[in-house]
């Protein structure tokens, strides 16, 4: 990249990452043609994926990138700040967007009125803009702004779901999401009141310098409540199952892998990089709240999944449980524990979006994701069903799958902190995962398909991306150096305080 244009692009990569989908969204609306809009959206999501790969390489080679929006230097101006941890999150968000959107065309055309599809693609891109912006933003207020962008786009996408109840689910999520956003904004406002700055690094330094009083505590609590709602930590995650169940199938695959993950990243970033581990854990003991909630979420989510009869909702409940693992990793406040949380963020994104895409395939052919409708799927759609089994194994955490790696680090982290009951609970909750995955597998393989059902596989345009995601979650279970390396490095950076 020695040409002037190459140099120009290279220097502006952090901004291009966020604004390309933003600029392409109105273009999608202007063309008003569903296939052209889809093509443009896919092109731009793959471009953002390429950019995030490039950013990760640059961060690996040269350390963090600080990009001054509008040429105004931080801490006065708005900064995009790419560190190992958010380079990793950017990679996940853009990668999942690209793969899911590539798979989504046939599914969307089946489920959504065709004359509205171009709007859905625009909303998808805006949502990606918001998520990438949240991950990239270097100041707290812009995290909130991008959160609102992504949330508003999400409500619109969920409301487009084929079922009437999509509207009420979207509205419920809107109410909860707005409350969450307000809490986060309130926390940021209090921090601004105490420190007079909004830049994340600057906030951290100033908070270290002053004696933390009750205002800081309230700010911390507000941020924790707000992010807990957005990342759907039980008991604040009740909006999630319906939103995931009634959203269009491919939208669910996208959201499950990105929205809650970015919210988790925001929580980690605020706790460790603004308040700092000392303040949050030594002084205010947030682990005494977060850890029990994480454990409850792990079990309650899995238990609800066991009794569920709709596979999409079953997977949504399982998400609640998996989010528990991530928060557990965060609350351990050690390098190993946080590594587990961040690796699980990555691994869970792969397998859950893969599994939801499997359900998109099933819904495409069968028109329902209820267990009773999916009887004998192993005979009717053998590849789809086999992909589900592979993804299910990864979610249980069978060795040689990605799920095993993250749970390994979580258990190790718990043992390092001498919390052996917690380690035991992680293992026990994995057994619950065996039950709910087995329940689905049994229906797929050991029940006879309905008489009239023939054998009809989903189109390859949907199957290939699905298999790619599930395959990746197996690949990263065997070759763990890449993901664990980056996650461990991110965890060190997060815990290390000032760079």
């Amino acid at each position: 990249m020695s040409s002037p244009l190459g140099e120009l692009i290279r220097e502006n990569l952090p901004a291009l990452q966020v604004i390309l989908p933003m600029i392409m969204a109105p273009v999608c609306v202007l063309v008003r043609h569903r296939t052209v809009a889809w093509f443009l959206a896919v092109a731009v999501t793959w471009t953002t994926f390429a950019i995030s790969l490039a950013l990760l390489q640059i961060v690996r080679a040269h350390g963090l990138i600080s990009y001054a929006m509008g040429g105004w230097e931080a801490p006065w101006g708005i900064e995009l700040r790419i560190e190992p941890v958010n380079a990793f999150v950017l990679l996940i968000v853009s990668g999942i967007s690209a793969v899911v959107l590539s798979a989504a065309r046939r599914s969307f055309e089946e489920e959504i009125p065709r004359d509205r599809l171009y709007l859905l693609y625009a909303a998808f891109l805006l949502c990606e803009t918001g998520l990438l912006g949240m991950a990239g933003a270097g100041d707290a207020f812009n995290v909130f702004v991008f959160l609102e962008i992504s949330s508003l786009a999400t409500y619109a996408m969920i409301a487009m779901g084929p079922h009437r109840r999509a509207l009420t689910s979207a509205f419920r999520y809107l109410v909860m999401g707005t409350v969450g956003g307000t809490f986060i904004l309130f926390g940021i406002g209090l921090l601004y009141m105490v420190t007079g700055t909004l830049n994340i690094e600057d906030l951290h330094h100033r908070l270290q310098a002053i004696d933390a009083d009750r205002t800081v505590l309230v700010a911390l609590v507000c941020v924790l409540i707000g992010t807990s709602i957005k990342l759907a930590l039980l008991p604040l995650g009740a909006w999630l199952p319906n939103a995931y169940t009634f959203a269009p199938s491919a939208v669910t695959a996208f959201l499950a892998a990105t929205a809650t993950k970015v919210a988790f990243y925001v929580m980690a970033r605020f706790v460790y990089r603004i308040f700092g581990a000392d303040l949050a854990f030594e002084r205010f003991h947030i682990d005494s709240v977060l850890m029990p909630l994480a454990l409850i979420a792990m079990f309650l989510g899995a238990a609800l999944a066991i009794f569920e009869r709709d596979v999409k909702r079953l997977l949504a409940y399982s998400s609640l449980s998996q989010i528990g693992y991530m928060v557990l990793g965060l609350s351990l406040a050690s390098v190993t524990g946080l590594t587990g949380g961040i690796v699980h963020l990555f691994n869970h994104a792969l397998m859950k979006s893969g599994l939801f895409l499997v359900m998109a395939c099933a819904a495409y052919r069968i028109g329902s994701t209820r267990l009773s409708a999916l009887r004998g799927l192993g005979k009717r759609m053998p590849i789809t069903a086999a992909t589900f089994v592979a993804g299910g194994l990864a979610m249980i955490g069978v060795p040689l799958t990605a799920g095993f790696v993250s749970k390994w680090y979580l258990v190790k982290g718990a043992l390092e902190n001498d919390l052996w009951p917690v380690a035991l609970l992680v293992l026990l909750s994995s057994l619950l995962a065996v039950i709910y995955v087995w329940k689905v597998v049994e229906v797929f393989y050991f029940q006879e398909p309905p008489e009239e059902a023939g054998r009809q596989e989903a189109p390859w345009s949907m199957l290939l991306p699905t298999m790619f995601l599930i395959g990746a979650s197996l690949y990263f279970g065997i070759f763990t150096d890449g993901t664990v390396g980056i996650a461990e490095w991110s965890a060190r950076e997060l815990l290390g305080g000032a760079p």
Partner: protein, 148 residues
């Protein structure tokens, strides 16, 4: 309501001034209080007043939903392209300094165009929102068209 003479006459004489004031707030925003958002709302308020008096159907003839959709996009694109232009000229995204021969003029032009983008989008969004709510659940003429 268009048979109410007082409303009609005072509305007709007010609307141009509301719109003019909107434009003033828009283009004076870089020197004084104002800017694209406020201007967009004020300008749209003129359209809303017109719709309240003369009915949804007539207003839609000028501000058709499809045109409004295009304007919403155009505003965002204008904003984005100012950012991309400053990038192409060697600055950061939305770095106005590089847009003209000296930074002062650059800042001036940059803010002017960006705020115009904001103004266009806000106007179109406000009008669209109002039309959506005013025409909600009605296939034929809205209640605002009742006396047409």
């Amino acid at each position: 309501m268009k048979h109410n003479e007082i409303l009609r006459v005072s509305g007709k004489s007010l609307i141009p001034f509301i719109m003019m004031f909107g434009l003033y707030v828009q283009f004076h925003g870089d020197y004084g209080p104002g800017g694209g958002f406020q201007a967009g709302v004020i300008f749209a308020a003129g359209v809303v007043l017109y719709t309240l008096i003369f009915g949804l159907r007539r207003a839609r003839r000028v501000f058709s939903p499809r045109t409004m959709e295009a304007w919403i996009c155009a505003g965002v694109l204008l904003y984005g392209s100012v950012g991309l232009l400053s990038m192409l000229k060697g600055g950061a995204f939305l770095d106005y300094n590089v847009l003209a021969h000296d930074p002062v003029h650059g800042q001036h032009w940059g803010i002017l165009w960006v705020e115009l983008g904001v103004g266009i989008t806000v106007t179109a969004v406000m009008i669209t929102l109002f039309f959506l709510f005013a025409g909600r659940g009605l296939r034929g003429p809205s209640r605002l068209d009742h006396e047409d």
